[in-house]
Subunit: 241 residues, 2 copies
């Protein structure tokens, strides 16, 4: 059986198989080695999936059809938790302390279920408030951004502290992206979601972190012989397995 | 557990999660309903994977970690079988009769393993011989195309007859693509592999055929509540399950 990497998160994960998406790029990168499994839930904060983690990651032993532990799980939440509590997307808001506790609980659930699985946290991206005003998701009578970059930064900090406390790697996307000039328009399509160049940043960072965990094309076994390794004079020899 | 659709085939399947690829587009389309699982093997004809079908689709009951039958499997081989036996890629060639028998055997294996699974055949695409001369994969001292459109057409016919004999649907990609003007350059990047517009044709056809089999966004259950179905005044109500 080919091993799996789960991508668990909100809309930035759910739409990661769109054109130029970081999820599709990962699946392409690992096309002969790993199944990249999409578990993105658009609009979700950390509070909601915490109620149904058993449904997202079914376990229950062999009778329940339990599979091999995945190689890795990416956890990519916070962009919705960080919606401001007094703006138009307040129903998605989760207070900073609760966000941190929820993330800790998700990490702890996965560590308990699959002790050998590499867990990789990803902070929310920075927010381009101008973009958020120009591309509202819902009615915004106040005409004020429902997300701010400052709030996203605070949630990003909390995510990093969860990684530190849990001893797991983290991609500090909030900081990373802001190191590039014109990050607001270069990486973000609507002030929050990624355009192809933004997706590329996430893809590159995930590949790098996975490599840091020992998971790379150099180390993972290939599923069936590569065409370059097949003897053109006796191709079937490669399939005597 | 989310149901699966397997994509089984050669390089046109293996690279289907690249930019604009039909596999990634399927995964995106079904992002909350189905896991699209990549089983593409670059360079493979039908003869080689037939030797290792048990490895591609492991079974073996609950002890072997057997999962629910997949919703569907696409089988997309023939482009390599149709390499001419007297040209530079002869080692990939499989005679027409054997190709047909091999496809029948693959279909029969899947039908036996998973009687309820929808099997969908896809014929090889048409060949742009000019493209094949301009983008050789290996040394081509004769400077003659290793694949011809005529040969691809014969293998496509055989694939269609396998579908008819097996009572399963087929996408006649060879015919379909040639109905468009400039198909040679509009759909094919190197005379064989798909460019984004060619990928779009395959994606559209697969979605259409799956719908014909009753598998569509309208009929498949969604994994966890959609954001649009969550009560903004009491979001957690949607997660009491």
């Amino acid at each position: 059986m080919r091993p799996k990497i789960y991508l668990f998160g909100d809309s930035i994960t759910e739409e990661s198989f769109g054109d130029g998406g970081w999820g599709a790029s990962l699946a392409h990168h690992f096309s002969r080695t790993v199944d990249v499994v999409l578990r993105g839930y658009s609009g979700y904060n950390t509070r909601w999936p915490l109620k149904v983690l058993e449904r997202v990651f079914p376990g229950g032993g062999v009778e329940g059809g339990e599979e091999e532990p995945p190689l890795a799980v990416t956890i990519f939440f916070g962009a919705n938790d960080a919606c401001l509590p007094d703006r138009c997307s307040a129903f998605q808001h989760v207070p900073l302390d609760e966000y941190k506790q929820n993330l800790l609980s998700i990490v702890s659930f996965l560590k308990k279920r699959w002790p050998s699985t590499h867990i990789l946290l990803i902070t929310p991206p920075p927010i381009d408030e101008d973009g958020r005003l120009r591309f509202p998701y819902i009615d915004n009578p106040l005409n004020q951004p429902e997300r701010t970059n400052k709030a996203a930064g605070a949630y990003s900090e909390a995510c990093i502290s969860v990684a530190r406390e849990s001893g797991i790697p983290v991609i500090d996307l909030w900081t990373k992206m802001q190191q590039f000039p014109d990050w607001e328009k270069a990486f973000l399509r609507d002030g929050l979601h990624l355009c192809p160049r933004g997706n590329r940043v996430v893809f590159d960072e995930v590949v790098l972190k996975l490599k840091g965990e020992g998971l790379s094309l150099e180390t993972l076994p290939v599923d069936l012989p590569l065409i370059a390794d097949i003897d053109t004079k006796d191709p079937l020899k490669a399939f005597q397995m």
